[in-house]
Structures are given as structure tokens and as C-alpha cells.
């Protein structure tokens, strides 16, 4: 009888031990990187703050901390030890190898958020922590082998001393996204210069408008209002010399009651149709999961068929803070180099730059459509529903106009 108890107890202890070992198990050999966030190779605009006796770095909306790692194929998890002082100070982005995820830090307590990811082949990747809601605080990050969950392990359960891993220079990373700002915010009406291939201020009625629309007061004089459900404005771009690089900028004012900048729906702003199947196609749309996203793809269409790994890249930015009753300056830009393709998407002079390995040909566009899903796709309307004004298309990227 007594032996029975002993055996049961041993069995129970063994099970508990196994469970404990499985839960968040990380050996020292599995730790690739373990670092205070302020010691990462690149940080910008972070400020120290103490919560519950732990020093962390508070992120403003434009704050960023980055590290590059060289990893072998396998499953990994990024662990972020973080703290949110309040519910409106908890949002931030994590970007791993150019793929961005929005998360929220635990409110009023320290916690460890986990971001599992997989590398298919050996190579260099960039990892960034990017601010969104000012005040969100990060103490430290770690990258460990294996797939783990939030608080399993907690950061204090990651063994070993702080270590920096194999760091890569940012310029050597194949894929990365950065926060960028224009050196000079566009304020007045856009004017034509030697790089301008198209300009339209809508002060007089023009060709290219289809579906439901009306004319109304714009940011500068008259504007075109594309209405529910099928309003569109199309520009014939077949004669534009804008293959390798270019910039499209215009003003938008979605109908305020629609609250597009935080709406749960999916709304298309721009579609640049490639001249041939190998060429770069650009699509700008807003979706609550992806926020405002500029997608670079081939002419298969970003809408259908479903995502195929490796064929699409993008730059994206949050639009949650934008005012509903104002005009906003939208800028989309691209530059296709031999090794890398750069994308820029900006609103009111602030936005994101993303670069990735070049895989699309610089053949130019046959048409550029504003305000709805492309007219040649058999997919439902995803209307922008609102005003557009002062379009300018140039054959140079925005790179030279960025703040240093």
C-alpha cells in the first residue's frame, strides 16, 4: 500500500517535472540574442523610464530599435519584455525580416510577448521594434530557438548572460522597413517640374472618371469626389517614363462619416497596372489588419489568387491617428534597383520605407487607377469613397526628398 503511494507520488512528480520542462523550456545554447533594448546596434528616440523598479525604454511613435542577425534555417521566437503604462500607450510594431505585426504590451505590468517565426534558408534578417502609441516601454529582447508563447518563457527565465549574437550591419540586410519623413512637407498645390510626367488639379472636368462621382470643394480649388460604390479615376500611363522609379502623390479626403482611417473594411486607394506580367504592379489599400499597405507584386493581382510566399512585398503604416475631416497628402514611391527594390508610402510627410530583393521588372504601368478596386478585376467594389485632389506623377523616387 505504502509502495503504491510512493509510486503514485513519483509518477506525479515525474509528470509535473515533464510539464515544467516543456513549458517555455529554453537552454542556454538556444539563446541567439539577449539584450537590453538600449544596447541594440541601432536605436532612435528612446527615453529611459522606470516601472515597478525595472528600467525600460519608452518608445515614441517614431521610436525604433533594430538588430540584424544571421540565422540558420529553423524555428525561432523573438521575446520582448515590455510594459504599457495605459491602454492608449500599449500599441507597437514588431518587424521580422520585413514582415510587420502589431501587438499590444500588457497594461500596468511587465510581460514577455512572443513572436515565433521561421527561416527557410540560412541568411541575414532584420528585427525591429517600432513605436506606435507613445509611452509603450521595452526593457529587453531575446531571440531563442524553438517556438514559444507569450510569457512562456518569461524573460527572466531565459538563461545566460546578455549576449549580442551575430550582428549584421543594417545596410547588409536583404529586407527591412524604416520610418521616414519628408524634409519638406507638401503644403501648397503640387507644381510640375522636369521630373513630372502627369499633373491634374481637377479644376476643370477631365477624362478618366467613371461610376458615381461629383465635384466639390477640394484642398486646392475644386476636387473630384468618387462616390459609393463604383467611383473611379483612371489615368492612361502607357506613355509615362516611370519604369525603374517614380512617385505618385495626391490629396485625399475620404467621406468623414465613413471613418475610413480606422474602419473595419477594406478600401482601395490606388492600383498601378503593370505593362506586362513580369512587371511591377503597385496597389495601395487600407485594411484593419494591414493598415495602409503599398503592395508590390506581379500582375497576378494582390486580391486573387491567395498569397504566394515570396511574390509580394510591401510597405505599410498605421492610419489610426489621422483626422477624418481633413485632407491628407498621400505619397507612393518606388525604385527598382539591380539588387534591391525600395517602396515608400507616406501620409502627410511621414511614413515607411521598405526594401527587399528585386524580383519585378521595371517595365512601367499601362494605367493608374484611383479610388476603388481595379476595373479590370472581377472582384467586389472596395471603394475609397471621398475626395481626391492635385495628383502629380514623377519619374524619380522620393529618396532625395527625405529628411536625413
Amino acid at each position: 500500500m505504502r509502495w503504491g503511494y510512493v509510486i503514485m507520488a513519483c509518477g506525479l512528480a515525474l509528470r509535473v517535472g515533464v510539464v515544467c520542462a516543456q513549458a517555455g523550456q529554453v537552454s542556454e545554447a538556444d539563446v541567439i540574442l539577449k539584450s537590453e533594448v538600449e544596447n541594440l546596434p541601432f536605436t532612435e528616440r528612446l527615453s529611459p523610464v522606470i516601472y515597478d523598479g525595472v528600467t525600460g525604454m519608452a518608445f515614441p511613435a517614431t521610436g525604433v530599435a533594430m538588430v540584424g542577425l544571421e540565422l540558420q534555417p529553423g524555428d525561432y521566437t523573438l521575446l520582448v519584455h515590455c510594459y504599457a503604462p495605459a491602454g492608449d500607450q500599449d500599441g507597437f510594431f514588431v518587424e521580422i525580416d520585413g514582415r510587420q505585426t502589431r501587438r499590444t504590451a500588457p497594461i500596468g505590468r511587465w510581460g514577455t510577448l512572443a513572436y515565433p517565426f521561421t527561416t527557410e534558408k540560412a541568411g541575414k534578417i532584420g528585427i525591429s521594434i517600432i513605436g506606435q502609441e507613445p509611452g509603450m516601454t521595452v526593457d529587453a529582447i531575446a531571440v531563442v530557438k524553438g517556438t514559444h508563447q507569450d510569457n512562456d518563457p518569461r524573460f527572466d527565465q531565459v538563461p545566460g548572460e546578455m549576449k549580442r549574437g551575430v550582428e549584421i550591419k543594417i545596410e547588409d540586410l536583404p529586407r527591412l522597413a524604416l520610418t521616414v519623413t519628408l524634409a519638406e512637407k507638401a503644403e501648397g498645390p503640387l507644381t510640375a517640374d522636369e521630373h513630372t510626367v502627369y499633373i491634374e488639379h481637377f479644376d476643370a472636368e477631365c477624362n478618366g472618371v467613371t461610376g458615381d462621382y461629383h465635384w466639390g470643394e477640394g484642398q486646392f480649388g475644386q476636387a473630384l469626389y468618387l462616390d459609393v460604390p463604383d467611383g473611379r479615376f483612371a489615368v492612361d500611363a502607357s506613355g509615362f517614363d516611370i519604369g525603374p522609379e517614380g512617385t505618385i502623390e495626391w490629396w485625399v479626403k475620404p467621406r468623414p462619416a465613413q471613418q475610413l482611417w480606422s474602419d473595419q473594411g477594406w478600401h482601395y486607394f490606388l492600383h498601378c497596372r503593370a505593362k506586362d506580367d513580369a512587371g511591377l504592379q503597385l496597389d495601395l489599400s487600407r485594411h484593419p489588419k494591414s493598415q495602409l499597405r503599398l503592395i508590390a507584386s506581379s500582375s497576378e493581382g494582390p486580391y486573387f489568387p491567395p498569397d504566394k510566399p515570396g511574390t509580394r512585398e510591401w510597405a505599410e503604416m498605421s492610419t489610426n491617428g489621422l483626422a477624418y475631416d481633413s485632407w491628407h497628402h498621400i505619397l507612393v514611391s518606388w525604385r527598382i534597383g539591380e539588387q534591391r527594390t525600395h517602396l515608400w508610402v507616406m501620409v502627410d510627410g511621414v511614413g515607411r520605407q521598405s526594401f527587399f530583393p528585386t524580383q519585378h521588372a521595371a517595365v512601367g504601368f499601362s494605367s493608374i487607377e484611383f479610388g476603388n478596386t481595379p476595373s479590370h478585376w472581377d472582384v467586389p467594389y472596395l471603394f475609397m469613397d471621398g475626395g481626391i485632389d492635385a495628383i502629380r506623377i514623377q519619374n524619380t523616387s522620393v529618396a532625395d526628398r527625405l529628411a536625413k
Binding site: A257, Q259, W261, D263, Q264, W266, K289, P380
Partner: protein, 467 residues
């Protein structure tokens, strides 16, 4: 002469009632009374927390749920949650006149007063702990000096009949108490003021009020019957309190029902509208479109408005909407939930993981958590509209009005319910409730409990000669 007739009438009535009473199974009446009492006593003594209830409980009360998991010290307001149980206490009281039931109802009403937000509305769950009290700014704490009690969320919702059901229960209790309970009366008035304030200029109501700065909670939403429940609430409020503002708000809502009908060739309704009364997106799988799903509900509401006001203007939108149904039937004989604006093409979604939705015309790969192919032809609406057209509004409304039953009819009603009552008695647990088996085990399903209580109350009301 008059006196003689009155006496003769009284005698006849008594004889008739006596005959009726003889026909009833008195033993069953006694057992039904005992069962209802036992159920109520158990609910009050063991199940309730601070007078409030949730939707389901494990039979041993070790765990509980509303729409999601709830804690023991929480109540859940959306039907069949706490106020729905309270309404059954009131029904039992009306049927029997016993104080036990009125006391149970008043206790439940007080739990709703406890959980009323400072704005006047309610949210889905009331948490009676201090921590829960800090999470919301309750009306009861409006005069407090403790800032923690005044800094919580203060936005009430119409979603899932939450605030409407709470107000209906408080109004019914207020009526039962002849308005003598000041706390309950004040809560009703605060709640109705919240309703008046929350109406948009176009007559619709947002899902939440005060308005959030962003998101689809600002939209006027037909989904889940939100605005029909407001309509019934306003009708009841005007009938009970006679405040002309309630009637005007109701009429404005009726105008919204009419004005939110989309133009030909799609003269039906969208699921939700923004502040410009244009179809809007809500959740990621609820596009700006017309809906075969909610149109049937709007037409039913229009008939209710026509019957209530005797104004035929509410009927005018119905024929073109029915014609749309007839020409929009799909090859499979059904109707899609969503149709694209202008093209009238059915809209569907595909979803890989419930977080990524793609809008499509293809119905071959729809997620299963939402009905994208839900609606059927609104035959009842067509029948009602036809009956009104043939009979006229006045006659139709008169025919629908509840009729006072004779004692013999009441007895017949009671007798017709005997089988259901015997079944309820047979299935009642030793503790006095009703349970069913679910994935979690044996559960006390409050919807089932309410249904059985209603059976017993309606039976006792008829047996006791009450309408």
C-alpha cells in the same frame, strides 16, 4: 333593474368560474405552484449573485457563462441573461400575486440599477467586485469622491439587446411597484434619457453611446435586431409614461426605417449605416452592401410601426422590397446575406483563419462562423402586408390586439397546457431548476429555466382566471 342585471351577471360568472374550476386538475395546479416557488427560491438563494444572473451554469454552480466565460461575481445582461430571468419573476408574480416573486424581481432590478452606467446605458457584463466597479463608471458612483470609481468606461450599448432588455426589466418592475421605488424609477428615467440623447439626426441609433471616436460601433446597425428592440422599448415607454418625447423619438426612428431603404434597383436595406445614412462596413466580414438578411427584419418593424401609428406610410417601402426578393433569388433557391451595391451580385467571404477575410463573388469556400447564405423569402411579411391591404390597417390592428378571454376560455387554455406542465414538473431537478447536457457537462441553461418558468406561470395565470 341595473342592480338585478349586475347580480345576475355576477352569479352567472361565479357559476361559470366554478364549473371551470371543477374542470381543472387541481393537484396539477398545486404541484405547478410548488414547482415555480421551489425554482424561484433556489435561483434567489443559490444561483443569483447580488440579484443578477448569467446565461448558463454548471449544475454544481462551479462555473458559468454568458456569451463567453463569466466569473461568479458577474451578471450578464444580454437575453437570456439577468433581466430575462427577472422578467420571469414578474410573470410569476402576475400569475400568482405572491410576494416571493415580486421580491425576486425587485432584487434583480436592483442589480441592474447597480450596474447602470453613469451615462444611463449598460454594457454586457456587470462585475460586482471593487475591481469591476473601477472598470466602469457607474451611475451609483456619480457623487463619489473616489476618482477610481469615476474613471472607468462610461459607454452603454444597444448591441445584443443589452441596454434595451435591462430597461424593459426596470420599467416592468417600476410598473409593478406603481412607481413607488424611487431608485428604480430614477434608473428608468436616466436610461430613457440616454436613449433620447443617443439618437442620430437621421433617426437611427449607434451601437454604443456616447459615441466612440472610431470604429463601427458608431454605425446604425440592423444586425441582431438592435433597432427593433429600441422601437419596442420606445413604444412601451410612451405607453407607460406618456412622455411625448418618447413618441417623437419613435417616429423619428420609423422615418429612419423608411429613409434608409436604398433606391431602385436595390430597394432593400443595408446591414449598417454611417452618420450620412450610407451603407458602411462593420466587422471585416460585414461589407457595405445591401442585405437579404436584415431586410426581412426591417419590413417587420415597418409593419409594427404601421400597426402602432395606423399610418400607412410605413407600408409603402414593402412591395418594392418584396419584388427585389423575387428577382434576386439564387439558383440554389436561397438568398445571399450580402449583395453588392449597384451590381446586385451576391457577396461572400473566404477566410483562412478568421483574421484574414477576402471578399468574393464565389460561395464555394465560406467560413462557418457566420451565415453568409442565410436569408429566406419573407413570407410572413408578405402575408401581413396582404392582410393589411385586404382588411385595412384599423381592422388588422384590431384583429391583432389581445382579446379578453372568458373564464371558460381561460380554463381551456390552462387545460391545453397541462401536458407541457406535467413535462416541466417531471424534468425539474431536485433543486428546482432544469438542466441539459452540453460539452461542459450538465448545465443549468437559464433560457431553458426561463421557458419552463413561463410555462408554469402562464398555466397558473390561466388557472387563476388571469388574462
Amino acid at each position: 333593474m341595473l342592480k338585478r342585471v349586475s347580480i345576475a351577471t355576477l352569479v352567472c360568472t361565479l357559476i361559470c368560474f366554478a364549473q371551470c374550476a371543477v374542470a381543472l386538475d387541481q393537484d396539477l395546479v398545486t404541484r405547478a405552484e410548488a414547482a415555480l416557488e421551489k425554482c424561484t427560491q433556489y435561483l434567489v438563494d443559490e444561483v443569483a449573485y447580488n440579484g443578477g444572473y448569467v446565461g448558463t451554469y454548471l449544475e454544481d454552480l462551479s462555473d458559468q457563462w454568458g456569451e463567453g466565460h463569466c466569473l461568479r461575481h458577474q451578471s450578464w445582461l444580454q437575453p437570456p441573461g439577468s433581466p430575462s430571468t427577472g422578467q420571469e419573476f414578474l410573470r410569476a408574480w402576475r400569475a400568482t400575486g405572491k410576494q416571493l416573486y415580486l421580491d425576486a424581481a425587485v432584487t434583480n432590478a436592483r442589480s441592474l440599477v447597480w450596474g447602470q452606467l453613469e451615462c444611463g446605458g449598460w454594457v454586457y457584463v456587470v462585475d460586482y467586485t471593487r475591481e469591476g466597479e473601477e472598470r466602469n463608471y457607474y451611475r451609483r458612483n456619480a457623487g463619489s469622491n473616489d476618482q477610481k470609481l469615476k474613471s472607468g468606461a462610461n459607454r452603454g450599448t444597444y448591441d445584443d439587446d443589452t441596454s434595451q432588455a435591462s430597461l424593459r426589466m426596470l420599467m416592468a418592475t417600476d410598473e409593478a411597484l406603481d412607481g413607488q421605488d424611487q431608485q428604480i424609477r430614477e434608473a428608468v428615467m436616466a436610461g430613457l434619457e440616454w436613449v433620447l440623447k443617443s439618437q442620430y439626426r437621421h433617426g437611427g441609433f449607434p451601437q454604443w453611446y456616447p459615441l466612440s471616436t472610431t470604429g463601427y460601433s458608431r454605425h446604425s446597425t440592423y444586425n441582431d435586431g438592435n433597432m427593433y428592440y429600441i422601437m419596442y422599448l420606445l413604444m412601451a415607454a410612451y405607453e407607460q409614461y406618456g412622455d411625448e418625447r418618447y413618441r417623437q423619438t419613435l417616429l423619428k426612428l420609423g422615418d429612419f426605417f423608411i429613409n434608409s431603404q436604398l433606391p431602385e434597383p436595390q430597394p432593400i436595406w443595408a446591414q449598417q449605416y454611417d452618420e450620412d445614412m450610407r451603407p458602411a462596413w462593420a466587422r471585416m466580414f460585414e461589407p457595405a452592401s445591401v442585405t437579404g438578411g436584415e431586410t426581412s427584419g426591417v419590413m417587420t418593424a415597418l409593419i409594427e410601426m404601421a400597426v402602432y401609428t395606423k399610418d400607412p406610410k410605413y407600408l409603402a417601402p414593402i412591395p418594392p422590397a418584396l419584388a427585389w426578393y423575387q428577382r434576386s433569388q439564387l439558383p440554389n433557391g436561397r438568398w445571399a446575406r450580402f449583395y453588392e451595391l449597384k451590381t446586385n451580385k451576391p457577396l461572400y467571404f473566404t477566410s483562412d483563419n478568421r483574421t484574414t477575410y477576402r471578399l468574393t463573388y464565389d460561395d464555394s469556400d465560406m467560413p462557418d462562423h457566420y451565415s453568409f447564405n442565410a436569408s429566406s423569402y419573407p413570407q410572413r411579411v408578405e402575408d401581413a402586408h396582404k392582410a393589411i391591404t385586404e382588411q385595412g390597417l384599423e381592422a388588422y390592428a384590431a384583429a391583432r390586439a389581445p382579446k379578453e378571454l372568458t373564464p371558460a376560455q381561460l380554463t381551456a387554455r390552462a387545460e391545453s397546457m397541462e401536458e407541457a406542465v406535467r413535462k416541466a414538473l417531471a424534468e425539474q431537478t431536485e433543486k428546482g431548476v432544469w438542466v441539459r447536457t452540453a460539452a461542459e457537462g450538465r448545465i443549468i441553461d437559464m433560457a431553458l429555466v426561463q421557458r419552463q418558468m413561463r410555462t408554469l406561470s402562464d398555466y397558473l395565470a390561466a388557472a387563476n382566471g388571469k388574462q
